[in-house]
């Protein structure tokens, strides 16, 4: 093969350019990965994953706010009437039976973060009212009035001996 033919082999050159571009593209993307990943929660943040809370001393109708992963978690000890009322309805426009939202009907545990824009709803009358945009939740944490699209989230939790609850672990 003459030298001029080799130089004129544009197909080969184009192939090399394409491969080089592709490999360097992958390289640049790989180099970006640590930068993007550095913005994800760090190990000390991940270590805050569970919270333990002592339930003794809460009377029926009482509500406590507990910090879990920096977010408020509402723990409501519901009276018999409240349980009966909640079990009778299916909530608002995100219907869900009350049974599926509690492990023991007496204890309602929900993340106190409005599913709309992340404000903390205030306890007002029965249920909660979010002052940011006016969403309303019932005593099962179910949305009754928008703009919140969903019911208050139920975090993973389990009861442990001695009337305690661990939030963050099912």
């Amino acid at each position: 093969m003459a030298e001029s033919d080799a130089l004129g082999d544009t197909g080969r050159r184009d192939f090399l350019v394409r491969v080089t571009t592709a490999v360097s593209g992958v390289g640049v993307a790989a180099a970006c990965l640590p930068f993007v990943a550095s913005m994800n929660p760090s190990s000390d943040v991940l270590a805050k994953a569970t919270t333990e809370f002592d339930l003794s001393g809460m009377n029926p109708g009482d509500m406590r706010t507990v910090a879990w992963q920096g977010k408020p978690v509402f723990i409501l000890r519901r009276s018999l009437e409240q349980i009966k009322e909640m079990e009778a309805s299916n909530g608002g426009f995100a219907p869900e039976p009350d049974r599926q939202r509690v492990k023991q009907p007496e204890w309602l545990v929900v993340v106190g973060v409005c599913t709309h824009m992340g404000c903390v709803p205030n306890r007002e009358g029965p249920g909660w009212l979010c002052h940011c945009h006016g969403s309303q939740f019932d005593d099962s944490g179910r949305v009754l009035r928008g703009p919140a699209p969903n019911n208050l989230e139920v975090p993973p939790y389990h009861f442990v001996a001695g009337n305690k609850i661990v939030i963050g672990q099912a």
Binding site: P72, H116, V120
Partner: protein, 418 residues
């Protein structure tokens, strides 16, 4: 000596010609009114914000245990710290005020039309960068409004399809707005102004390519232009004096009027204030967010409400020069739009009730509606104005512009232009 130094530089860098062509001798339409001051004012406020910001950063601590106190430290202990802080916080509002007036002028006089589309779009980019910078800066005092404002706005990214929740956690670096969020917002709040400066350079290069528009809407021939210096340096500096009077009244006498009282309470992630509102310059867009009952829809509507402006060069199809000045129906629509913005701003400010939500929804409908209506109105109005008879000057102008558009591509083909 001075001449020799300049000559030495000129052989290596186009200093004299740059100053002559782009600054002192830069050809400027002679009929610019005071609404054309606001671009210069925006540049001035940018410099002011960067200057005060750098000095504030020398005393500020981006750590949730210290940031709130470091603001008090700046206010009480740092020499003239109160002045730097009030200049910076008032400067943010001043920045949006001059930018909004600058945009309103562009809309009124139709300056976004060809050949200035790229000016309008780089300006739109600048607005987005400014909004991001202001939003991140607002978290830094770590007050209640800072915290909940940042919580609500980062939450908007939940609307991202499929990976919404992860995106929000990634943005915050935590499950909630936290120390990680504060530190990165500080880093980015320091970075973004330099991106803004870069975008301003692009904006200005575009400006110096197409030159300033003017109230008549007529592309003035060279003989109608006058050098920037001394005519417009004087005019801009006079406007600056007026601006500084208003600015100083706020800095020295009303600095707290632009700061929500709730922001003097340290951030508490367990308690949302009863009435959270964004800064005044975000209120109309916030009202649009609240007006849409669906969350994703609200976020999309809010984003679109800012971006709608960039479609104006295509939505406004009228060829009548001079913007609203010679277009009575467009002018009426313009003022209705401004009123609609004010209504939205007020609705965004007051706590939501079913009546205000309804008013907000009507105003949101009008907001987007006006962008669609303008496509129909602009053409109909043009036909009506032509039928009614345009002033002979304007008619001749439109004819000559139509001719130019035919001539230009021909020139390009023959290769004597670029």
């Amino acid at each position: 000596m001075k001449n020799r130094v300049i000559k030495w530089i000129d052989q290596r860098f186009p200093l004299t010609s740059f100053v002559k062509n782009e600054l002192t001798g830069y050809p400027t339409p002679r009929n610019l009114n005071y609404w054309w001051n606001f671009g210069f004012l925006a540049g001035f406020v940018l410099v002011l914000q960067v200057a005060t910001g750098i000095f504030l950063a020398m005393h500020y601590k981006a750590d949730i245990t210290q940031s709130f106190d470091s603001i008090q430290h700046i206010m009480r202990d740092v020499n003239y710290g109160w002045l730097l802080r009030f200049m910076h916080s008032t400067g943010a509002s001043a920045f949006f005020l001059v930018i909004y007036i600058h945009m309103a002028r562009t809309l009124y006089y139709g300056s976004y039309r060809a050949p200035r589309e790229l000016m309008w779009w780089t300006g739109q980019t600048l607005l987005l960068l400014l909004m991001a910078t202001a939003f991140m800066g607002y978290l830094l005092p770590w007050g209640q409004m800072s915290f909940w404002g940042a919580t609500v706005i980062t939450n908007l990214f939940r609307a991202t399809p499929f990976i919404g929740d992860q995106v929000v956690i990634w943005l915050r670096g935590d499950y909630t707005v936290s120390d990680a969020t504060l530190t990165r917002f500080f880093a980015l709040h320091y970075l973004f102004p330099f991106l803004i400066i870069g975008a301003v350079v692009v904006h200005l290069v575009a400006l110096h390519t197409v030159k300033s528009s003017n109230p008549s809407g007529i592309n003035l021939a060279d003989k109608e232009n006058i050098p920037f210096h001394p005519y417009f340096t004087i005019k801009d500096f006079f406007g600056l004096g007026i601006f500084l009077i208003v600015y100083c009244v706020f800095v020295f006498f009303l600095p707290d009027s632009l700061i929500e009282p709730a922001n003097n309470i340290p951030a508490n992630p367990m308690q949302t204030p009863n009435h959270i509102v964004p800064e005044w310059y975000f209120l109309p867009f916030y009202a649009i967010l609240r007006s849409v009952p669906n969350m994703v829809g609200g976020v999309v509507a809010m984003f679109l409400s800012v971006m709608m402006f960039s479609f104006m060069p295509y939505l406004d199809r009228s060829r009548i020069p001079g913007g609203a000045l010679y277009r009575p129906i467009f002018r009426l629509q313009y003022y209705l739009f401004i009123i609609d913005m004010l209504v939205l701003g007020y609705i965004g400010y007051i706590p939501p009730t079913s009546l205000t939500i309804l008013i907000g929804q009507i105003a949101t409908f009008c907001y987007f509606g006006s962008f669609f209506v303008v496509t129909i109105i602009s053409r109909a109005e043009e036909r009506w104005l032509i039928k009614r008879g345009l002033p002979p000057g304007v008619e001749a102008l439109m004819a000559s512009e139509a001719r130019e558009q035919i001539v230009l591509p021909h020139r390009r083909r023959s290769g004597d232009g670029l």
